[in-house]
């Protein structure tokens, strides 16, 4: 399916240690859940996205999720769609992701790359895994790739020691939860509700059940995303999940600000609120 052959000298013999899972375990030992923060590469521009992701870590994000801008983001709501359109119109390239990963990984936080699958198909799954690993990335989150179709990526992520975060949804059957748990490394991304990214007044009641079921299906770590935008929501989710994933609320803070510095200030403010929410709950 991809053009690149696996090179045998890169294949690890033992099981891959997940950097993201390690971080989640450290936080669990501290008695709390992680705050996972998403921002798209190239928004407002490449340098701006490095500054924003770095500010996010400084303000309390534990794990960074960097989005590769894509022309057809079917799992994203309007806030992220608009940010990504802006990034693409500004000329951001997939290879810019590597530079941003490298810069943000320097903060010490695990950096996952969130990407729709076609940019990786085009780049070559093996080459993409090689380059993300070389840049210091921890792995990929793949919203439109299910384990059933992920043969190339399973091999490439093993070869390069990368995490592979697949998603589960409230509609997932027990069999699919087990398949996804078995195929994931780092954590399983539990979509709190049936829908796309975006802030919501309430986090779906399905989320707690889904986390429980996903653990029962064999997942060691489960983080919850979709719809979380307030400290209270973060606290609610942090009570039962290994991590709280926030995206649209952070992107909106940047997008709504009149200028770059104001955007970073607004971002630090929202991250601070969410981080306090996560830290308010002892697990």
């Amino acid at each position: 399916m991809t053009d690149d052959q696996l090179t045998s000298d890169r294949t690890t013999s033992g099981p891959v240690t997940s950097r993201t899972a390690q971080r989640l375990d450290e936080l669990r030992a501290e008695g709390r859940a992680a705050l996972v923060g998403y921002l798209p590469v190239g928004f407002p521009d490449v340098e701006g996205s490095i500054a924003a992701a770095t500010a996010m870590v400084e303000a309390g994000v534990d794990v960074v999720e960097l989005g590769v801008p894509y022309s057809d983001p079917v799992m994203d709501g309007l806030v992220i769609q608009h940010a990504v359109e802006h990034a693409l119109a500004g000329g951001v390239r997939v290879r810019d992701t590597l530079r941003v990963v490298e810069a943000v990984a320097a903060t010490g936080a695990p950096v996952l790359v969130m990407t729709y699958w076609n940019p990786v198909v085009r780049y070559g799954a093996e080459a993409f895994a090689r380059d993300i690993a070389a840049a210091g990335g921890a792995g990929l989150i793949t919203p439109d790739l299910i384990p059933d179709e992920a043969g190339d990526w399973l091999a490439a992520s093993d070869a390069h020691g990368l995490d592979r975060v697949f998603l589960v949804a409230p509609s997932s059957t027990p069999e699919r939860l087990a398949l996804t748990a078995r195929s994931s490394r780092g954590f399983v991304y539990a979509a709190s509700t049936m829908g796309v990214t975006g802030t919501r007044a309430t986090v779906g009641a399905d989320a707690a059940r889904l986390v429980r079921d996903t653990r029962a299906a064999g997942a060691d770590h489960v983080c919850v995303g979709l719809g979380v935008s307030t400290g209270a929501q973060a606290a609610e989710v942090a009570a039962y999940a290994d991590g709280v994933i926030v995206g649209s609320a952070f992107v909106r803070a940047l997008a709504d600000a009149p200028g770059r510095e104001e955007g970073l200030d607004a971002l630090r403010g929202v991250v601070g609120e969410l981080a306090a929410g996560v830290r308010s709950v002892t697990r």
């Binding site: 022309s71 057809d72 608009h82 997939v94 940019p119 299910i146 949804a169 997932s172 829908g195 796309v196």
Partner: protein
């Protein structure tokens, strides 16, 4: 695909009054029921949709095995669609095709004006079997939206149609048509504001409302089971036409031509001929301003393998895998992807695909109007233009008696305004 038993001529595709469906030959059997067509197809969608796709796949499997489903669909086609659609020989047009014989399969005469109704009636029946009360669909030119809105009215289903804002402008009459039929039309204002973005928005709706909603996909693309299911529902075109041509000419056609956007009308007419090796299958893609200009929608000719809207197939993309905007005078072909079964047929060489420019299509459009009194859809005019070229090639190669079967997939009522502007037919000061 379920093998049709020889002792049960009542089939999904043929129906009681239709011709008995032939046993599947090796190529058609290989095409199969998905999810893969060679290296193409699959399910590249969010996990949230998998349960709904499995449910649809299972229900479609049961429906295929249930004679009542075939009977009901067949009755609807007879009494509502107007099937079987007729074959019209077009000798005056054929003079512009090197003098070969040209036969049109008249899908333009179906209720709602195109082949799209074949698919939506089947999917509306499935929606009812699933116990769902709401349907959504994407539309480009508006033909699939109109067909879906029609089926929703007939089956008393709530209906929401997603249509790129750009297309709602280009096809304002079809927007009104859908609204008359009781559908809600949602203009999509993100991305390129065309068909691909309408599909994105429909997928987002489906992810959110999957428990109550069935997605009536309009073409042989998307995640499994859509490519195989829509193909099966369109297969009636070729099954009828094959028997009709045998009856009329006494032999099989030498070539079958059809336009290819997503590819549902083409796969519909090709499929019954897959195992007739003497029959050339030619798909005509929208070449826009010319493939060399980059402004086109010729996905197989000018694209590369990748993943879009749930399937691995050919698509128009840049070196980063970003979908590239397509261009065509025909809104129905203006799509940067193509169904995975076409990608496979191209890869094994069973079908060939060629581009037709806007200018060539409009010349064929004009010719069919003037020589035969038939106003085709601009989409179908691409098939006519490809037929003109192919006919001349065949005549020059020493086959002036060749027979070409063309799928006239739709009528041109919706395109009158576009054509009037193109040919400068509007009087000055005429109301816009």
């Amino acid at each position: 695909m379920t093998q049709q038993s020889a002792d049960r001529p009542t089939t999904l595709a043929g129906g009681r009054q239709g011709p008995p469906e032939p046993e599947l030959g090796p190529v058609a059997a290989l095409a199969g029921a998905g999810p893969y067509f060679g290296d193409f197809g699959g399910r590249f969608v969010p996990e949230a949709l998998i349960e709904a796709l499995d449910e649809l796949d299972a229900e479609y499997g049961k429906a295929k095995a249930d004679p009542a489903f075939a009977d009901e669909l067949s009755a609807l086609h007879r009494t509502y669609t107007g099937r079987p659609s007729i074959i019209t020989e077009v000798p005056r047009f054929a003079q512009h095709c090197g003098g070969v014989r040209v036969l049109l399969k008249r899908e333009d005469l179906n209720h709602t004006g195109s082949h799209k109704i074949n698919n939506v009636l089947g999917q509306a029946l499935l929606t009812r079997r699933l116990g769902k009360k709401r349907v959504i669909a994407e539309t480009g030119a508006g033909q699939h939206g109109v067909a879906t809105a029609t089926a929703a009215a007939l089956f008393d289903l709530e209906c929401v149609i997603y249509m790129g804002e750009e297309d709602t402008r280009r096809q304002a009459l079809n927007v009104a048509r859908m609204r008359l039929l009781g559908a809600e039309v949602v203009p999509v204002t993100t991305g390129s504001r065309t068909l691909k973005d309408a599909i994105n928005e429909a997928l987002r709706d489906w992810v959110t409302n999957v428990q109550t909603t069935n997605y009536v996909f309009g073409t042989v693309g998307g995640p499994h089971p859509f490519p195989a299911m829509v193909r099966d529902l369109q297969r009636i075109i070729g099954v009828e036409a094959r028997a009709q041509v045998l009856d009329l000419v006494g032999r099989l056609p030498d070539a079958v031509t059809a336009c290819v956007g997503g590819g549902s009308n083409a796969i519909g007419i090709f499929h019954a001929f897959l195992d007739d090796p003497s029959v050339r299958l030619l798909g005509l893609e929208a070449g826009g301003d010319g493939v060399e200009t980059g402004r086109h929608a010729a996905t197989i000719t000018g694209g590369a393998p990748g993943v879009l809207h749930g399937a691995r197939s050919f698509l128009l993309q840049d070196e980063d895998g970003q979908t590239v905007e397509s261009h065509s005078i025909s809104a129905g072909l203006d799509y940067p992807g193509v169904g995975p079964e076409h990608a496979w047929l191209a890869s094994i060489g069973r079908a060939e695909y060629r581009p037709v420019t806007d200018a060539e299509a409009m010349e064929a459009f004009r010719l069919l109007c003037r020589t035969e009194g038939i106003i085709p859809a601009i989409e179908s005019a691409h098939a006519l233009a490809g037929t003109m070229r192919l006919g001349r090639e065949m005549a020059e190669a020493g086959h002036p008696d060749a027979v070409i079967l063309v799928n006239l997939s739709g009528r041109g009522d919706k395109d009158v305004e576009t054509a009037a502007r193109y040919f400068d037919l509007l009087d000055e000061g005429a109301p816009q």
